[in-house]
C-alpha cells in the first residue's frame, strides 16, 4: 500500500507518461490502483479518455470524501481507476492557502482511499508551491523524472534544499532518468555523475517515439505495445519501484 507522487519542478520532463504507464503496470501486476490527475492540464485524464464531472471542482476535491469518490472513473483497464483533473485545479494553491492545516490537507484526502487501492499515483503539476508541500507530505515515495541536463541538475539541487527546509524525509525521494538520448554527451555525462548514488533508479526511460505516440493511441505503452522497447522498460521500471517500496515499508 503506497502513495507514489510523480513530481518535478520543471515541466515537460515526462511526468504524465511516467504516471500513466506506471499506474497501468501497477494494475496489470494485480494491484488495485488509482491515478489522481492533479495537473490542471489534465493530460493523464486525456490519455485515458476520461473527463471530470461538470460539477467537480478544486473545492470539491479538497473536501474529499463522498464527492471525491463519486468523481473517480474506471479506465478501460482492469483494476485501474482514475480521478480526472479539472481545470479549476489551477487554483488549488489559493484554495489550500485559505484552509486550516493546509500542508496536511492532501494526505487527509487521499489516506481514506487506501482501503480501496493498493497503490495511489499522484500526477503532479510542476512548481514548488503549497500543493507540492502537500504532495510531499502525503506521498510514501516521490518519484522524479529527470532529464539528465545541467538545468535539471540545478532544479534537483533546489528540490533537495526544499526538502531540507521543510523537514520532509529525503528517503522518499527517488530519481528516474527520463527522455534519455544516449547519443548526447551531456546526457551520458550527467548520468555518469549520478551513477551509484542512493535512490537513483537503474532503469531509465529513453526518448523514443513509442512514448511520444501515446497521445495518438491514447493508451499506455505497455497496454498498446507490451513487447516494444518502451513497453518492456516500463515493466522493468515498475519491478524496480515495487522492490524499493518494500524497502520503504
Amino acid at each position: 500500500m503506497a502513495i507514489i507522487a510523480i513530481y518535478n519542478i520543471k515541466g515537460g520532463v515526462g511526468k504524465t507518461a511516467t504516471s500513466v504507464n506506471l499506474s497501468y503496470m501497477s494494475a496489470a501486476t494485480g494491484n488495485n490502483t488509482l491515478l489522481c490527475d492533479l495537473d490542471p492540464q489534465g493530460s493523464s485524464s486525456y490519455y485515458f479518455r476520461v473527463k471530470s464531472k461538470k460539477k467537480f471542482t478544486a473545492e470539491l476535491f479538497l473536501e474529499g470524501g463522498n464527492s471525491l469518490e463519486r468523481s473517480i472513473r474506471g479506465t478501460d483497464y482492469e483494476k485501474l481507476d482514475i480521478l480526472p483533473a479539472d481545470f479549476s485545479y489551477r487554483n488549488l494553491d489559493i484554495t489550500l492557502n485559505h484552509m486550516k492545516k493546509s500542508k496536511k490537507r492532501l494526505k487527509q484526502i487521499v489516506d481514506p482511499l487506501k482501503k480501496d487501492y493498493e497503490h495511489i499515483f499522484l500526477d503532479c503539476p510542476p512548481n514548488i508551491t503549497l500543493l507540492s508541500e502537500n504532495i510531499f507530505y502525503a506521498a510514501d515515495m516521490v518519484l522524479i523524472p529527470f532529464i539528465p541536463t545541467t538545468l535539471s541538475r540545478l532544479s534537483f539541487a533546489k528540490l533537495l534544499d526544499f526538502f531540507k527546509e521543510t523537514n520532509i524525509k529525503k528517503e522518499k525521494l527517488f530519481v528516474v532518468f527520463s527522455m534519455v538520448e544516449s547519443r548526447k554527451n551531456i546526457h551520458r555525462d550527467t548520468m555518469q555523475r549520478f551513477q551509484g548514488r542512493k535512490r537513483i533508479l537503474n532503469t531509465f526511460i529513453p526518448y523514443v517515439t513509442d512514448i511520444e505516440k501515446m497521445g495518438i493511441y491514447r493508451q499506455p505503452v505497455p497496454a498498446h505495445q507490451p513487447n516494444s522497447r518502451a513497453g518492456k522498460i516500463y515493466a522493468n521500471l515498475w519491478q524496480e519501484i515495487e522492490a524499493e517500496l518494500l524497502g520503504l515499508q
Binding site: 476520461v50 473527463k51 469518490e69 474506471g74 491514447r218
Partner: protein
C-alpha cells in the same frame, strides 16, 4: 467505496448471444475483443471439504486459485506449470497451501468438474471511444464435449452474458441493463454458480458425497423397511467409494468404505430379528469377509498417516531408522493394495454386493425369499419385521446404553487393559445405534448425546490405537533380521517410539476415569431416559 454493479443472465443458445450482440451494435458503438478459450477446472476433496467451508479451488490459465463463493481471492494464486496436484504437500509453501492444509488433511484434491469456456467482450464506447460498459459473453462446454461436437450437433453449450459497471458510468450500465432484459433469465454472478452449472451438466450438485451417515426414518415405519433404508444408505456409501479405492486416490476412500461395512455388520447383529435368520446369517458372514479383505491396507494406512506424528516423538538422530521403517511399510502397502484391488474385482465380491443390493431393493414380502437366496428353504417370518421402528430403536438404544454404563462402571484402575478394549466395542455399538435412529428423536438432544459419547469414544479409541501400535511395533521388531546397521537404526527408532507410546497410553488410561464420569453423569442418564 461503492461496489460496482454487475449482473449475469443465462441465455438459451448461441443464437440468442448473437442476437443480443447485434441489438447492442445497432444502438451503441461496440468494440469486440478477440475470443479466448480457457479451461476452468474445479477441485475439491471427494467429500467437499473446501466447499463445506465456503471455499472454491479452481485452475484457470495454468494457475491455482482459492476464492470465496463469490469469486474473491482468499490467497494469492499459484502458478501450476502443468503440474497435477493431488495432496497439499505437493504445493509450494504458500498462503494457499497453508489455508487448505488443515482442511484437506490427508484427502486428495480431485477434479470435481471441468469445462472449457470461450469468452469475448463487447465494450460499449462513448463518443471519446472510452469504454463505459463491459459485457462478457461466454459459451461453456463440458470438458471433452467440444471435440465430440461434430458428431453430436444437439449438444448445446451453456451461454451466458455478464454486464459490469465501469466506475463513474452508472447511467450507461442502467441503459444497457434495460436492453438485456429481453434476453434469457437472470442468474447469480458468482463463481459458485459456475461450479453449479458445470456439475448440473453431469446431473450432480456440490456436496453430493458426505461421509456422515443420515437416513430419514419415520416412527411408524415397519422394522424391515426402516432397516433396509439404513443398509441401502450404507451400501450407497460403499459403492461411492469403490472407484477411489481401486484408483488408490487417497486413504479415506477405503476408510469410509470400511466404516460402512462396520456399520452394516453392527446393524446385522443389533437388528437380527428384523430380517430372515438365513439372510442375516449369510450377510453377516459376507460382511465379515469384506472387513477382513480390506483390513491390511487400512492398518498400513493408519501407520503411514502417523509418519509426521512419529517423527515428532523422536530425537533427530533416531529419525533415520524411522525412515527405513516407513519405507518398508510403504512397500508392504503396495503389495497389500494390489491384493485388495484383486479382491474387489473378484466375482466373490461382486456377488456379495449384487445379492445384497438385490435383497435391499426387493419389496417387503417377507414370505417370498426367492431371488437372492433361491437355494434356501422359505423361512418363518422374522418376529420384528413388522414391528414399528421407533419401538425397536428404543429397545436397542436402551440396551446398548445400559451395557456401556454397566461395563464402564465395572472398570477400576486395576482392571486389565482388555476391559477397556471391550468397552470400546460396546461404545461403538451404542454410537451406531444412535446414528442409525437419530432421525426418530429430537435433533438437539441427539446431538448432545452423540457428543458425550464421542468424548468417551475418543479416550477409548486413543487407548486402543496406542496399544495396537505397540503390538505392531513389537511384532515388527521380532521379525527384524539383526546384524545390519540398518536393522540397528530401525530397532533404535522403534525402541524410542515404544517408550514414548507406552507413556502416552498410561496418560490416556489415567484420563479414562474422568471421561467416563462425564459420560455416566446423572444429567446424561436422565437425558437418555427422557427421550428414549
Amino acid at each position: 467505496m461503492k461496489p460496482l454493479a454487475q449482473l449475469s443472465r443465462q441465455l438459451p443458445d448461441p443464437a440468442t448471444l448473437e442476437e443480443l450482440a447485434n441489438k447492442l451494435k445497432q444502438k451503441y458503438t461496440v468494440q469486440d475483443t478477440p475470443t479466448q478459450t480457457t479451461n476452468l477446472n474445479f477441485y475439491d476433496s471427494f467429500d467437499w471439504r473446501l466447499y463445506s467451508k465456503d471455499i472454491l479451488c479452481f485452475e484457470q490459465h495454468n494457475r491455482l486459485y482459492l476464492t470465496d463463493l463469490i469469486g474473491c481471492e482468499l490467497t494469492p494464486s499459484l502458478p501450476l506449470a502443468g503440474k497435477k496436484i493431488r495432496f497439499h504437500q505437493e504445493l509450494p509453501v504458500s498462503a494457499l497451501q497453508e489455508k487448505i492444509k488443515p482442511l484437506l488433511e490427508m484427502r486428495a484434491l480431485l477434479l470435481q468438474s471441468s469445462f472449457s469456456q470461450t469468452t469475448w467482450q463487447l465494450r460499449i464506447l462513448n463518443k471519446d471511444e472510452k469504454t463505459v460498459v463491459m459485457i462478457t459473453c461466454s459459451e461453456r462446454y463440458e470438458a471433452g464435449q467440444q471435440d465430440k461436437q461434430n458428431e453430436q450437433q444437439d449438444e448445446q453449450p451453456i451461454c451466458s452474458v455478464r454486464l459490469q459497471e465501469v466506475r463513474g458510468y452508472e447511467k450507461w450500465f442502467q441503459r444497457v441493463e434495460q436492453d438485456l432484459q429481453e434476453f434469457g433469465i437472470p442468474m447469480p454472478c458468482t463463481k459458485e454458480q459456475e461450479l453449479k452449472i458445470a456439475l448440473a451438466g453431469k446431473g450432480r450438485t456440490p456436496k453430493d458425497y458426505t461421509s456422515k451417515f443420515s437416513v430419514m426414518l419415520k416412527p411408524e415405519m415397519d422394522g424391515l423397511t426402516a432397516t433396509k433404508a439404513i443398509y441401502r444408505d450404507l451400501l450407497t456409501t460403499m459403492q461411492a467409494n469403490e472407484q477411489g479405492i481401486l484408483d488408490d486416490l487417497d486413504s479415506e476412500f477405503l476408510h469410509d468404505f470400511r466404516v460402512a461395512i462396520r456399520r452394516t455388520r453392527s446393524g446385522l447383529s443389533m437388528l437380527k430379528k428384523v430380517m430372515e435368520p438365513d439372510i442375516t446369517a449369510r450377510f453377516a458372514q459376507d460382511f465379515r469377509h469384506l472387513g477382513k479383505i480390506t483390513g491390511p491396507v487400512r492398518d498400513l494406512d493408519v501407520y503411514l498417516l502417523m509418519e509426521e506424528d512419529y517423527k515428532a516423538r523422536l530425537p533427530e538422530h533416531l529419525q533415520k531408522g524411522l525412515r527405513y521403517f516407513f519405507d518398508d511399510l510403504a512397500a508392504q502397502r503396495t503389495e497389500e493394495q494390489a491384493k485388495l484391488v484383486k479382491a474387489l474385482r473378484s466375482s466373490e465380491y461382486t456377488t456379495i454386493i449384487n445379492d445384497w443390493e438385490e435383497y435391499l431393493k426387493k419389496e417387503n414380502n417377507t414370505e417370498d425369499t426367492e431371488g437372492a437366496e433361491k437355494a434356501t428353504q422359505p423361512t418363518e417370518k422374522p418376529p420384528k419385521a413388522a414391528k414399528r421402528i421407533d419401538k425397536i430403536a428404543n429397545t436397542i438404544i436402551q440396551k446398548r446404553f445400559q451395557r456401556v454404563l454397566r461395563d464402564g462402571q465395572a472398570i477400576t484402575p486395576d482392571s486389565p487393559d482388555e476391559s477397556l478394549h471391550r468397552l470400546r466395542i460396546q461404545g461403538k455399538k451404542l454410537r451406531y445405534s444412535l446414528e442409525f435412529f437419530s432421525s426418530l428423536y429430537p435433533s438437539k438432544e441427539m446431538k448432545y448425546l452423540i457428543k458425550q459419547l464421542k468424548n468417551l469414544q475418543n479416550n477409548l479409541g486413543l487407548f486402543n490405537d496406542l496399544s495396537v501400535q505397540q503390538d505392531m511395533l513389537n511384532a515388527y521388531l521380532d521379525e527384524l533380521k539383526p546384524n545390519s546397521t540398518k536393522s540397528q537404526q530401525i530397532s533404535a527408532a522403534i525402541g524410542g517410539l515404544l517408550t514414548n507410546l507406552y507413556h502416552e497410553q498410561q496418560q490416556v488410561r489415567c484420563e479414562f476415569e474422568e471421561t467416563f464420569r462425564c459420560f455416566s453423569s446423572g444429567e446424561n442418564i436422565s437425558l437418555y431416559e427422557k427421550i428414549i
